[in-house]
């Protein structure tokens, strides 16, 4: 039985739409309540916090998962990325007070020593390092937008959907760094050992997101 891990939260509904639209059973999933393991037809679904999904897959508890590429990249876990579903679109960005914009228009040296708040510590560090800038990353688990207003940091590194939270806190996008969407990922071992059992599910998702 293929095991698919699905995240709670912001992208939950988009995941359910993909599952349903791909012809996989989703009725019990929609009514899962507090159940974290749902057996429906020939599938088992594991429901977890988004940041735990890469671990569930890499540890072999799930064969496949729908999860944002922001989460998989932050986890650093080795997974196979099979499909970009195009759903749950948003982007990673550096945001801050408008006055900070000038620092992002010049040489990387202007970014040196910048204080950055993020719940994506690993990605933030990697992004700035790729520009040759060493920054101080402050890890926060939520309400990251608050940090610049309190003078704790110069800017934040976070996902942006509509930008309304940024605006509400007097922040603007200073630099857009990566596109984010829901991806269908797989455990590399499961692909090697059980591809014939996963092929149909992967094909169905591909067909659904390609509009076929």
């Amino acid at each position: 039985m293929p095991v698919i891990a699905l995240p709670t939260g912001r992208v939950r509904d988009a995941c359910l739409d993909i599952i349903e639209g791909s012809g996989m059973p989703a009725k019990k999933l929609r009514n899962a309540g507090r159940n974290l393991v749902v057996d429906d037809g020939d599938y088992r679904y594991l429901i977890g916090k988004p940041s735990d999904i890469p671990t569930l897959v890499s540890q072999g508890l799930a064969d496949l998962a729908l999860v944002g590429n922001d989460v998989t990249e932050e986890s650093g876990v080795e997974l196979a990325e099979l499909i970009d579903t195009g759903r749950g679109r948003c982007f990673m960005a550096i945001a801050g007070p408008p006055a900070a914009a000038e620092r992002f228009t010049g040489h990387a040296s202007t970014l040196m020593g910048l204080r950055v708040a993020s719940k994506y510590g690993r990605l933030a560090r990697r992004t700035f390092e790729s520009w040759g800038a060493h920054v101080k990353v402050l890890h926060l688990n939520g309400s990251v937008e608050l940090a610049p207003a309190l003078g704790l940091v110069d800017c934040i590194f976070d996902i942006v959907q509509t930008g309304s939270t940024l605006r509400a806190n007097g922040l603007v996008v200073l630099k857009r760094t990566a596109e984010v969407s829901l991806r269908l990922v797989a455990n590399p071992g499961a692909l090697q050992l059980r591809w014939e059992f996963l092929r149909d599910a992967v094909g169905a998702v591909r067909s659904f997101v390609n509009g076929g």
């Binding site: 650093g76 876990v77 080795e78 071992g189 090697q192 050992l193 092929r199």
Partner: protein, 398 residues
Amino acid sequence: MDITPRGCSSIGGELAQGMEECRATAMAMFTSYGYSPFNPAELQLLEGMMKNLHRRRRGRVIALNSPFGEPCCLRADLTLSALSYMALHHAPDDFPLRLCYSERVFATPRPPRENIEDTQVGVELLGWEGIGSDVEVLAVLLSALDSLGLTESVVVLGDVSLFPALFADLPQGLALKLVELLEDGAYYEYGKTLASSDASERHKKILAELPWLKGPNEILSRAADVFGSSCLLEPLREITGSLIARGYGDRVRVDLGFIRDLGYYSGPVFNVYSSGDGSLLGGGGRYAASLADTRFSCQALGFGVSLRELALSRGARPASPRVMIWAGQTAPHRALAYAASLAEAKSPFEISWNPNDSESKDFAIKRGCAWWVNIEGDYALELPSGRPVAIPMTGGAR
């Protein structure tokens, strides 16, 4: 006092026992096939390591300076150690050379793992070009796994020589990019890059299918249809055919999109799993012995598997019933003579020097011993029931 740093572990108890059983069984199997034990240095020169490892592995090497000021790293790879040893100690007329090892390797872990060290058992075979050597190495691996009771272990075979052949007509930059994407498991990006490239439609069709040609051995026929020829698939056909003839048909799979990330492989490669839904034990494959500046122009191949994963995959095994020899009221030389007779009979035992027989018995029960032996009284007690049984004493113990 804890002197074990993060990322390292001192292993004891059942897991250590299990690992030792796996090591002894595997090494006995390897040596019976003519592989000589090899004990490599723990430090390796950094330059040679960085030159030969794959980009993904290079970033995980743990570098340090030796006390003599040489830039080194903790042993990041056993194949390169073995190859370097063979190059320095043997001439080509010694070929083929066969080495086996049970040693630690060190690397910065990839999340969610935290361990920086792992003990691997494996073999290297240098200087034989034919498919026979691929089959030999795989058969040695499967035989070792069988003798460890892992009779449902599965080997997944690929062939990295397919890529230069299939990508030959592509611009070099595109070919390298596609290989990197496959190595990273970025299948979606691979498909997108391929689709937007200037490759011919026929090329695109073949290369788009390549990562998905995975499954039981029969997938090779499908691959031959996709490629329009079976020439490129001959090595894998021969290897899988031989393994099937050896009775391993249901334990061999093929993955034509599979590239091992060690960087030096040049032919058939493989991963080995504990079962059809089990954990990755390790892997190996064929490589050019010219790497590591060995001045050898021949081919070599080998594999390494994690002892820890082997032991964990086997699970807890019932330990052989152990005998507690009570020596608390016996002259040490007599107790040790009796112990020697048990050792000769390969019966595991432990000596209790506690002068109090009752405490000694309790301790034997706590230890899970099957028998408690009173040499002076010429009897043994079956534990935990305490039922007495007569024991024959050896001449040496008397």
